[in-house]
Amino acid sequence: MGFKRPFEDEKFHELRLKYSRQLGYTDKSKQFDEVSPRDDVFQKPVATVNEGNLYKSQGGESSDGEMFDEESNFVYPGHDIDDTKGCGGRDATHSPHSVKYFELDIPPRVFAPVQTFYSFLLDQPARKQVPIGPGHQAEIPEWEGSQNGNLERSGMMVQNHVIECADSKKWSGTCVVPMLDLSTLADMDDIVGKGRNFCVCRDRGSIRCVQQHIKEARDEIVKMFGYETFKDLGFCDMGEEVERNWSDEDAQLFHEVVYSNSVTLGRNFWQHLAATFFSRTKQEIASYYFNVFVLRRRAIQNRTLMLDIDSDDDEWHGCYGGSSRPHYVEEDEEDSALESPIHQGTEKVYPLDHEEGGENASNSEDGDAFVDTREDGTGLCDKEQKMNSTVEYMGGSTGDRVNVENDLCMSFELAHDAVDCEKKDETGLGEQQKKLKKCNDPMANKVWDASRCQNVSRNGKDLQPTGSIMEEIFGYGSWGNK
């Protein structure tokens, strides 16, 4: 079975492992333990079988796939093993050992090392073979030099002919939006590809503001293309419009089902959703999930100042399971203000995060979700690892900006320094945050935040109250003194 994710052994990979980007090196020698030594590279049948086994777990052929065509008597000219150019044998000789072989410029790993100019390139595990045979290669139509080719030659071509003769329009797509008149194209450059203009709403950046402008943009498109084309372009199945087909009760139920059936608890919320909403198609459920559920979650996430959010993390939702600890919950409110440190680029103001003024609290629909994310345990637990690596840089340094060599932490460009303490307060964070109001020094905030990282990673389940952390870091009773 092939895995797109790194494979270590032939065992079944659990879903959780697929996020691993760090590819585990296996001992090269260990790798070859699984292959019986190839005494002779030309003993293809044996080697092939072994290789098939070896690579079966590494994306090799299916059990029916043949490495070579057993039926044919084709002999593929051999290449010298110690081929110095690495691109094919110079003096291809027919091997006395075996009729069937192919692609032989693999150095015999276990035995004579190849001393070539490119030997360092060869310092890889034995190359996986490209499978060949009728079960692998495509049948190429003959080129007759004309457009349609000779149509009488083979069954395949006859089929092609049938397909070609069919209504060509039907076979090359249905036009949804035709090309505009070329004469208007010259003006198009001014209109096409325009970016976002900043609005003048008083609550700019709020959920309401964003929704309004999205609606305006949609209306523009309806005006330009007409409603039929608007539908054809798929707009009716995009965005929060999708929720029109869902009642409030259903929406609430959806949230509950997802929250209470996380993968980390060994459950599959997807199946529960299908069972709960049995009258709805899977498409409707998936559509609601991506267009309403995840989007709303993103809206919350965008406004919680957590900057290493992963919108693809299906686990990132609210309270469930044993990971919520009272201590942790409180600390979480500070952690959400955490800015993964230090991205040495320009500090950009986080544009839409702090204009709410209690927006989230008042928006009842999001209210629950908002509360839930505060209590997120798992999400942060996962991030502990990432925090860890940033910690080393921050230890002891108070003012220096450090380039953190940990890309995992930073999914998005970071905006941290500009975060205003007061705004944090408005987003309804906890007591500890309010204390930060007094700290106006962005540097101090940054250092403090990084140290919070440290604390999170060090203590994991047992987080200390903020005050003692501050004392620990600054080494003096300076908590609140800045």
Binding site: M1, K4, R5, F12, L15, Y19, R21, L23, G24, Q58, S62, S63, F74, Y76, P77, G86, C87, D105, Y118, L121, Q124, V130, H136, E142, Q147, G149, S154, E164, S168, W171, G173, C175, V177, I191, V192, G193, K194, G195, R196, V210, R218, D232, L233, D237, M238, F269, W270, K282, A286, Y289, F290, L295, N302, K348, P351, D407, S411, F412, E413, L414
Partner: protein, 426 residues
């Protein structure tokens, strides 16, 4: 550069609600986001938009085995437990899960690429785009790496009806093994893949020494790279190799797979390309003014996928897009900056100058083998059996035969002995 290429763009909204399963990295919803972003920037005004027809099984069977296609049509999440053998045989169930509407999903993305090829063939457009396509791992008889039907092979087969030579370029972080394997024996398709290789990275093929077989020898190019390659190294290598390839091979059409997992910070990738660096490849290929089919591919950080393919659509339309993403239904995904730029990665670039240089040298040297045959010979192959293009018996055994001819020598069926060892077998 000629004035204004005509662009056909293919999209079917039904891909948006395809769901591989919780925590599966492949999320077709990224296509919906891409499409939406493209529309939000108004790019639809500069191209034709098509909804592709759904590929028929018979079309898929132009490459894939009919058994496999038929199984894909039949299988669904409810009945998959009844077919454990077939599931294993076709490599379904793990990386390639069976989900609801799997076959329809395949029909949509494959239909898009086939339609795109047809429009190009009929000269109805200069460039055709199908971001839903590019699933380059699928094999003739099995699924692989989240790919079930290889739309690229189907599209190329379509193009081959009208063009003697087709060039395939793949900038996905994973080796384009499905496409290479399909065309490993032929010189009518040149496959060029830039990818991460080594450290047991999927799929495991794609070494620089993989160059094709038989008539296809030297018509497969692999550029194996290590972690962390950056824009400048990648683009320099890309330009050098591709310009040489196009000059020597003179393809009638180009298929460009733009897998976005070669971007920095991809969930499964390990390169360090920025969107600009990735898009530079698209820009470069477009400049050749050869009929061009552009597809998507990998890409597992969906916001970055959407950004990348939107920027590349803009490039194909000669439109440079401002960074500020306009209001659109999915704008929330693009936090915190809601801009097209993505931050750089911090992976160390393990590709030393000497390593890259050595790869380049090998590849350019291989290209010389076809350099002296600018018009690629097309073998007139009767459909049912293969005969070599010269008769061994007529050759003077004392005369030295050059390498290329030797490579072409295929032992005939009626030869009892290998090579020159026959002793007048009776």
């Amino acid at each position: 550069m000629r004035s204004k290429d005509k662009i056909s763009y293919f999209y079917d909204g039904d891909v948006g609600s395809v769901y591989f399963g919780p925590n599966h990295p492949m999320k077709p919803h990224r296509l919906c986001m891409t499409h939406h972003l493209i529309l939000a920037y108004g790019l639809h005004s500069k191209m034709e938009i098509y909804r592709p027809h759904r590929a028929y099984p018979i079309e898929m069977a132009q490459f894939h085995s009919p058994d496999y296609v038929e199984f894909l049509q039949r299988i669904n999440p409810e009945n998959q437990n009844l077919f454990p053998n077939e599931m294993a045989r076709y490599n379904l169930g793990e990386d390639c899960p069976v989900f609801e509407d799997l076959f329809e999903f395949c029909q949509i993305y494959a239909g898009g690429t086939i339609d795109a090829a047809r429009r190009l063939n009929n000269k109805l457009c200069d460039i055709a785009i199908n971001w839903a396509g590019g699933l380059h791992h699928a094999k003739k008889c099995d699924a692989s790496g989240f790919c079930y039907i290889n739309d690229l092979v189907l599209g190329i087969l379509e193009l081959l009806k009208h063009h003697p030579r087709v060039l395939y370029i793949d900038i996905d972080v994973h080796h384009g093994d499905g496409v290479e394997e399909a065309f490993y024996f032929t010189d009518r398709v040149m496959t060029v893949s830039f990818h991460k290789f080594g450290d047991k990275f999927f799929p495991g093929t794609g070494d620089v020494k993989e160059i094709g077989e038989r008539e296809g020898k030297f018509y497969a190019i692999n550029v194996p790279l290590k972690d962390g390659i950056d824009d400048s190294s990648f683009n320099r290598l890309f330009r050098t190799i591709i310009s040489k390839v196009v000059e020597i091979y003179q393809p009638g059409a180009i298929v460009l797979q733009c897998g976005a997992d070669s971007l920095a910070r991809d969930r499964l990738g390990c390169f360090n390309l920025s969107i600009d660096g990735h898009a530079e490849c698209v820009k470069f290929v477009k400049k050749f003014n050869i009929p061009l089919l552009v597809t998507g591919g990998g890409g597992y950080t969906k916001e970055n996928v959407a950004r990348c393919w939107t920027v590349e659509t803009g490039i194909l339309l000669d439109t440079e897009l401002p960074n500020e993403i306009p209001e659109n239904d999915y704008i929330k995904y693009f936090a915190p900056d809601f801009s097209l730029k993505i931050p750089g990665g911090h992976i160390e670039n393990l590709n030393t100058k000497s390593y890259i240089s050595s790869i380049k040298v090998q590849i350019l040297e291989n290209l010389r083998y076809i350099q002296h045959a600018p018009s690629v010979q097309m073998q007139e192959v009767p459909p049912d059996f293969y005969i070599p293009d010269f008769d061994e018996d007529e050759q003077n055994p004392d005369e030295r035969v050059d390498q290329r001819s030797r490579d072409k020598q295929i032992q005939r069926d009626d030869e009892y002995f290998n090579g020159d060892n026959d002793n007048d077998a009776s």
